[in-house]
Each structure stands twice: as C-alpha cells, then as structure tokens.
C-alpha cells in the first residue's frame, strides 16, 4: 500500500486510463485496479465513487444504466472525448513528474 495522499492525486488518472480500455461499473473498477496493481494499489470505495462523480461533473466521463437479470441496475462509466484528451495530457504530465521527481531524488526513470 502507498501513502494515501499520493494515491489520492493519481486516482482520477487511473480511472480515466481504465475506462479508456472499456466501460466499467464502479466496483469493477475497484477490482480491476486491485488486479492490475497486484493489490499494491487499493482504492477505497469511499474514495473512488466521489472521484467518479467529480470526473462526471467535469465532463470527462459519462455514464449509463444497464439492467441486470438479478439485482439492481448497474451504472456503467464511459470515458468522453474530453476525458480522452485530458487523459493524454495527464499521462504526459505524469511522465514529466516522475522524471523530475527521479532527478530530484537522484534516480533515473526506468
């Protein structure tokens, strides 16, 4: 597990990245993050859902409801065109950030 503040800043980048691959519902995102990071990166549901809402308000993701045979309908999230743009920007920003951080703490990015 990583420092909470560190995780918080990168949550929206990760959400956008995951949604860029395919549409997902909230809990699926939680599980997918857990799987891809091999449990090193666990985003709490209490953090993820408000983050999704914020992204939705900003217009970077949209959603639709999908009925299920059993249980209540699921809210699927989908990345928007704006979202894809901001994802590109954020990703390159992230790379620059890692580079600068590595320089500052004396390591080279691998």
């Amino acid at each position: 597990m990583f420092n909470r503040e560190l995780v918080k800043g990168s949550t929206s980048l990760l959400i956008l990245q995951l949604l860029d691959d395919r549409d997902m519902y909230g809990y699926e995102l939680v599980k997918e993050m857990d799987r891809r990071s091999k449990s090193h990166f666990q985003v709490k549901e209490g953090t993820l859902y408000p983050a999704l809402h914020k992204l939705e308000k900003q217009g970077y993701i949209s959603y639709y409801w999908q009925d299920r045979e059993k249980g209540p309908a699921r809210k699927y999230y989908k990345i928007t065109v704006d979202g894809q743009e901001i994802l590109k920007e954020r990703t390159s920003e992230w790379h620059r950030y890692v580079q600068v951080m590595n320089n500052l703490i004396g390591k080279k990015e691998t």
Binding site: Y27, E45, G46, Y49, H53, G71, A73
Partner: protein, 332 residues
Amino acid sequence: MEMIDRYIYAVTQKLPHSQRKDIAAELRGLIEDMLEERVQGGNITDKEVEEVLLELGNPSHLAQKYRGTKNYLIGPEFYYSYILVLKIALISTASVIFGVFIIQTIIDPVSILQHFIECIVSLVTALPSAFGWTTFGFAIADYYGGLNPKVLKTGNEWHPSKLAPIPDKNRQIKQYEPIINISVYTLLIAIFAFSNNYFGIWIFHEGFSGVVPFLNLEQYHSYLFLILIFGFGIIKECLKLVYGKWTIMLVTYMALVNLISLIAVLIMVNGPAFWNPNFMFELTQADLLTKGSEAYKTIRIIWEQSTLWILVLLAIGLVWDVVYGLIKVTKK
C-alpha cells in the same frame, strides 16, 4: 437489510436533491456487490452488512467526499440548519415589518406614503442585517466546530448500529409549517408588544378617534400574558423543527408546554385587574352604548363572561393540539 437503507439515507440526506437518487442507486449496487463478494453466494447476515458499511465509513464523511473539499464558509454539517434559521430570521423580520406597516396604515391612512417609505427603509436595513448576523453566527460555529477535536472524535466512533431510522412519511413534519408559524407568532408578539393599546373596540367618529382597550393598560402583565401564549407557541414550533417528525416524545413535550402555558394564563387572568376595569364605562363615554339599554346589558354579560369563554377556547385549542399530535403519531 434495513441497515443498508439507513446508511444510504444517511449519506444522501446530506447531498443536493438533484444527486440523491443517482448516488443512492449506485451506492446500493456497490454495497450489494461488496456483500456478494464476501459471502460468495451464501447467506448475507447482519455481520457482513456491518463489515461492508464500516469499510465504506462514516456516512457524513462519504457525503462530504461526494460534495467536494472544504472551500466554503458554512460547511455541509451546518448548511441545512443554517438555511433553516436563515429562513426563519428573514421571514419573521419581513412579516414584522409588513405587519407594522399595515397597522400604521389602518390607524393613519393619510400618511400611507410615509409609512410605505418607512417600511421599505426598514426592509432594506433589517433584512441584510438579519442575513448577515445569521451567516456570521454559523460561519463562526462552522470554523470552531470544524476544529473541535471532540467533533472529529465522535466522527471516528461512528458505527452502523447508530444509524437513525428513516422517518415515516405520514409522521414527517414539513419544515415550512413551523417556519411559517414562528413568523406569525413573532409578528403577533411584535404587534401586541408595541401596540396593545389598539387591542380593543375601535371607535370611529368621522374617522378613527380612539380605542376602548380590552386590557388594563396600567397593568403591564396583561400583555405579557399574550406574549407568553405566543412565546409558548414558538417553543412548540421549535420542538417540531428539532424532531422533524411526530413522535410520542414530541407530543409529550408539547402537552407539557401546553399545560404550563395554560396554568400561567390561568394565574394571570385571575390576577388583579387583568382586563380593563372601566371597559363598560368607556364604551358609554364613547357614545357607543347608553347605560341601561338592552344592548348595554347584553354586552355587559358578554364582557363579564369573556374570561371564562376565552379560557375554555384556549383549553380546547391546547387539548386539540395534543390530540392532533397523537393522531399523527398513531397514523400508519
């Protein structure tokens, strides 16, 4: 499963109306997914529900996350109480000012323009200050309340079993009812406190020429009693606001307040010289009645029995108040 409903209610209650439905539906889906993962097709017990809700955390905190970070003067914890008090303050202030304007115009219709200007000036000065002071008070409360370690501590001790039940729709008290009532009571208090000498029979001889008051104006407690009645009314309305729904406790408190106010009224009305002792004499002086006439006798009887009837009516009103509450409580 009721605990899940309570949890969702606790979260969404602190969110703007427009978002409530969506967030509630999504939250329910999430909780069910989390439960499903835990039991893997087995039976869901209260224990699992508690674990899941504890993982999601304090509903106030979750609601706060949905609402965003603290870039506000008055936070979500205080916001609804703030709006409520603000409404009461503004509506009460405005109704007092309008009430005074109407009374002044009735008494002295010639100067209506002047009264109107005074009314506007009062509105322009009083409403912003009511708004300002309310906001200021809540901003201070939010600032210090937010830093209060005790508040933070109780926030951490949250547990699903502490969730309050969802109030039954039939028993809910609509917020605007007490607000309107408080404003009306405030207006009545203002009117009686400042113009109780107009509370009586109005005499018109080519225009308004005077009043034969009902109350003994030399005795200051005669209008204190009126203020007392409405003051108790305000206390009851505040109780309704605090409870927000009809419960046995609320009705018990209201019955208690009614009993105390009835006793206070009884003591006052039976005290010395509560009513205007020269009422009948003043009526004849004003040429409204001639002593010894039929009308004089009738009015005299009405006047002498008025105390009794007012008390009877008041008692009926107060009893009905409690009965009404009980009906609301027992209604399914």
